[in-house]
């Protein structure tokens, strides 16, 4: 027991970001710059705005984590989609089992497993590594389902039409099947990427310094947690708009997919 | 005093102007038919009267009372006195026939349910659908659905009945059952404004025919006037074309 305790201390995450007194939440009302009257609260955004560059760095890290999680997981998603549609019975079951397990359990638990759990085996992952692997696992599972939907949406009639027009197998795949799948899959994947970007906020729980983590870091000096989180929320909205706009534009130009811009 | 009067009515769908200053008037008990090519604005007049399409100019006067489109109370009062039957019947898909016919009298006009149901049974018998009162719209044929729609309108006890191309969506063999129903209503003295392509029927039933084209009234007269002795060029052209069938 003592052994594992020592190991755990090596993996111990940051101090809880929440001030807990007797198990009850205590907010900025008890900080040094606070107002002690019950119903009033004076907003002080200036202290937060002074740290805007840090917030922007955090936002950049948010996007970085999302990209890493997405592109790291996408190849596996494709593999799994193939496995589930054209594998042998056992491969199908295995892949299906993996996807079902990942999609029915919280990403947070996966990340905690990776970050704290693997420590027992001597595998010490950095916090960002754990988060990225967790996001990759999620992407592989949800991405698999999206791509599988794309595969299954290809109709026999399209393939037959191509064959009767004289297309070779390869040509059929390249000119008919792939474009169809891409058109079906792109909006769903774009949507998933947005969800993924928002879920990078999980990193804060294990001490990551992406957008939400930065908000807490900044607030730890002035106890203006409410203002800091409001600013972070605002930035998340901005990021989401920017990302969905870009993805919609890319979709229209590169793939001829009509995606909603707003 | 005319029962319903339309003065200089204009209406548009967005940028497209559909009615250009239309004048109409009819007395109680008259059956007025609006005829003309598609897009001439016939249905639009009915829709404006029921407040489904906004009017951009002109006046509507029902029973001496003007209908003010911007006043919800005025529009509701007008709807209280008129009922419309649509080309696509528009029966409420989630209700059976009896509920379709009684829901407005009970919920909107506040009549007691028992009275409304008795009334509905009577009206359904009149349109020949007494045994279908617990069927759902998707179990009925087009002709039957349209007759339910007429029953639904009649249950509101309107002063004026508006019929918007009520046979145009029906299979030919189902048209007559609906026309028979309308013929009956005309005989009973209901004030009706009918938009229709069924020229023979119009000729038989209407007391006044209004011919329209491109959002304007081209000619007004009795059926004999319009069909046998059309005065204007456009009317003559139209009648000539349709009579060739």
């Amino acid at each position: 027991m003592a052994e594992s305790l020592r190991l755990r201390n090596a993996r111990e995450g940051p101090l809880p970001t929440l001030l807990l007194i007797n198990g009850k939440a205590v907010g900025p009302g008890y900080g040094p710059t606070a107002d002690h009257r019950d119903l009033s609260y004076t907003f002080q955004f200036n202290v937060i705005f002074a740290h805007l560059p840090e917030f922007l760095q955090g936002a950049a890290l948010t996007l970085g984590l999302a990209l890493a999680g997405f592109w790291g997981g996408a190849p596996f998603a494709l593999l799994l989609a193939f496995a589930r549609t054209s594998g042998s019975k056992w491969i199908k079951r295995l892949a299906g089992g993996y996807v079902t397990f990942i999609t029915n359990t919280p990403v947070l638990i996966h990340i905690w497993f990776l970050f704290y759990g693997l420590g027992d085996l001597g595998i010490l992952l950095g916090k960002y590594t754990a988060v990225i692997i967790g996001l990759m696992a999620a992407t592989s599972a949800y991405g698999c389902e999206i791509m599988r939907g794309g595969f299954l949406s290809v109709r026999r009639s399209e393939i037959e039409a191509a064959e009767t027009l004289g297309f070779s197998r390869l040509q059929t795949v390249w000119y008919v099947i792939v474009p169809h799948i891409v058109k079906t899959v792109y909006p769903a994947l774009a949507n998933y990427f947005i969800v993924l970007t928002l879920s990078t906020s999980l990193a804060m729980i294990v001490g990551g310094e992406e957008l939400l983590g930065t908000a807490f870091n900044v607030a730890s000096e002035n106890y203006r947690h409410l203002e800091a989180v409001i600013v972070a929320a605002g930035l998340y909205v901005v990021i989401t708009f920017a990302v969905s706009l870009s993805l919609a534009l890319v979709g229209r130009w590169a793939f001829r997919v009509k995606a909603k811009i707003f | 005093m005319p029962h319903l009067e339309v003065r200089n009515l204009s209406a548009s769908y967005g940028d497209l102007k559909v009615l250009h200053g239309v004048d109409l008037s009819f007395e109680k008990g008259e059956v007025v038919a609006l005829i003309g090519p598609s897009g001439s604005g016939k249905s639009t007049i009915l829709r404006v009267l029921m407040g489904l399409t906004p009017c951009t100019g002109g006046e509507l006067i029902l029973d001496g009372q003007p209908i003010v489109p911007s006043s919800t109370a005025s529009v509701r009062a007008a709807r209280d006195k008129m009922a419309i039957v649509f080309q696509q019947y528009n029966l409420f898909q989630n209700m059976d026939v009896m509920r379709n016919v009684t829901i407005a009298p009970v919920k909107i006009k506040g009549r007691p349910r028992a009275e409304a149901e008795a009334d509905a049974a009577r009206i359904l018998a009149r349109v020949g659908l007494a045994e279908k009162s617990h069927a759902y719209p998707d179990e009925l044929s087009g002709g039957q659905q349209q007759r339910v729609a007429i029953a639904r309108a009649l249950a509101l006890r309107p002063e004026v009945l508006l019929l918007d191309e009520v046979t145009s969506a029906l299979d030919p063999e189902l048209v007559n059952e609906v026309l028979d129903t309308i013929r009956d209503l005309a005989k009973d003295g209901m004030t009706m404004l009918i938009v229709s392509h069924e020229m023979a029927f119009v000729r038989e039933v209407a007391s006044k025919v209004v011919m329209m084209d491109k959002g304007k009234v081209v000619e007004v007269g009795t059926p004999a006037d319009i069909f046998d002795r059309p005065r204007s060029e456009r009317a003559r052209e139209f009648v000539g074309k349709i009579l060739r069938h």
């Binding site: 027991m1 052994e3 594992s4 305790l5 755990r8 970001t17 929440l18 807990l20 009850k24 939440a25 205590v26 907010g27 009302g29 019950d38 609260y41 079902t100 397990f101 029915n104 359990t105 919280p106 947070l108 638990i109 905690w112 497993f113 704290y116 759990g117 693997l118 027992d120 085996l121 928002l198 879920s199 906020s201 999980l202 804060m204 729980i205 939400l212 947690h225 409410l226 989180v229 972070a232 929320a233 998340y236 909205v237 989401t240 | 407040g51 709807r79 419309i84 649509f86 528009n90 029966l91 409420f92 898909q93 989630n94 829901i103 407005a104 919920k107 909107i108 759902y136 998707d138 179990e139």
Partner: protein, 235 residues
């Protein structure tokens, strides 16, 4: 590995088991009540959003604004927003209530879009028929729109709620005694992370998987019969 085997009896002690089962109950309660209330309130948001007239512009704007904002903010952030906001005005607020409010806000925003889609799937002609008979917006909603749109609304709403079971793990950060919180607590007490988090994951699976299957079944049941007639037979 031997370490894990050593810890097993202590880990699966009656106290722990009871605590974990209670935590599962908290997770389920948070999901059902939070998402359920959010779903109901979302109807009002959509109704407000569709109110016509110039005077209603602020109301429409507020409804749109609310939905668009909370759909684009991570749930963890929304949770903290609610926490800090309430903590600033009410001392000693219940953490469970705070979490419930956060879930409520999040669920309202997400299901509002589902509901709006459902409403827009009802043919315009049905609404015109109701208008022509002086139904008024509220009556039209109750008697015509909702009865005809619920088969389109319910499956995605169900899918959302089931997916949300996993998101409740985030309210562990607010200090609510649900599954994820207990997991972290056990890990802190010295139990092997592998043992703890695998167990917690399995417990989440036990809650989530049957609900997912139910959602799929519901989707199939309501989707294939296209006509109202067959849907009536379902009820």
């Amino acid at each position: 590995m031997e370490q894990i085997l050593q810890q097993l009896p202590e880990f699966f002690s009656p106290i722990n088991i009871r605590m974990l089962v209670e935590a599962m109950g908290v997770t389920i309660a948070l999901t059902f009540f939070g998402c359920g209330l959010g779903f109901l309130f979302a109807f009002f948001i959509v109704f407000a959003r569709q109110t016509p007239g110039h005077w209603a512009l602020p109301l429409r704007a507020a409804a749109i604004f609310y939905v668009e904002i909370f759909r684009r903010v991570p749930f963890l952030v929304t949770s903290y927003l609610v926490l800090f906001f309430i903590a600033a005005i009410i001392k000693n607020a219940s953490l469970f209530a705070i979490a419930l409010i956060a879930i409520f806000i999040y669920a309202t925003a997400y299901t509002a879009d589902i509901i709006r889609g459902g409403f827009e799937s009802v043919p315009r002609t049905q609404i015109e028929a109701a208008q022509a008979m002086n139904f008024g917006r509220w009556r039209t909603l109750i008697h015509v729109i909702i009865p005809q749109s619920w088969p389109v609304i319910l499956p995605p709403a169900m899918v959302f709620m089931v997916a949300f079971v996993k998101d409740t793990a985030l309210v562990s950060q607010l200090g609510v005694f649900e599954l994820a919180f207990r997991g972290r607590e056990l890990n802190n007490h010295g139990f092997s992370g592998i043992l703890v988090f695998t167990t917690i994951a399995l417990l989440y699976f036990v809650i989530s998987y049957p609900l997912t299957r139910f959602g799929q079944w519901l989707e199939k049941r309501l989707a294939t019969p296209r006509s109202q007639k067959s849907q009536r037979k379902l009820r």
